[in-house]
């Protein structure tokens, strides 16, 4: 599955996207976050306080308990500041 990061999350993690093989043991976005946090200090820092992070799956905003499927595109980013 494709994971994307934007703004300061991208800066902390050091890449704008990465691809991970889907693990059927992940039920929700929260499980994926737990897995990602083990990848590097940058990941752990960026995802340490999920109240500061918004999550989108296939371009729709979701909560941490959203169920993941193989092939999903999951994006992590701060609250938006356009306009």
């Amino acid at each position: 599955m494709k994971i994307r990061y934007f703004a300061w999350l991208r800066e902390h993690i050091g890449v704008s996207s990465e691809t991970l093989p889907f693990d059927p043991s992940w039920v929700s976005v929260a499980d994926l976050v737990a897995e990602l946090k083990t990848k590097s200090d940058g990941h752990a820092k960026a995802l340490s306080d999920m109240t500061l992070v918004r999550v989108a799956v296939n371009y729709d905003y979701v909560d941490l308990d959203h169920t993941l499927s193989d092939g999903d595109e999951v994006a992590f980013f701060p609250p938006v500041t356009g306009g």
């Binding site: 905003y61 980013f77 356009g82 306009g83």
Partner: protein, 150 residues
Amino acid sequence: MTVIVTEDDFDLAEIYAKLRTPKSPPSPGAVTVFVGLVREMNNNRPITSMTLEHYPGMTETRLEAIRDQAMQRWPLTGATIVHRVGKLGPNDQIVAVGAASAHRQASFDAANFMMDFLKTEAPFWKSEDTGDGAEWVSARDSDDTAKRRW
């Protein structure tokens, strides 16, 4: 021209002309166009430049959805959202939202609604440079409050 995300500057006259004279009837009796600009100062510090990052694909999807919601909620003859990305300078145009309808209230309300939803749902992030380093702009609680009134 319905939803556009671009690095290029936009021409307000062109946006207005398309809302004023749609390709198919009915013609509107009122057009509201809002333009957002890069502020020259933020928190009493002069801004030298602003960079707008976005999530290609999701940005267009969310903006189309916001425009569709406005079209369903008000009797509009047309609606447009144009948003710039990339590096901008003080006083540059960032965003234009336009709505046309038979009477003024629907066009005012629809333009206002599209801006409030864009502010909280469209995946754009501003980074401001004041000369001593760039900083990500924080989201404002007042934007969430503004959205809730709809």
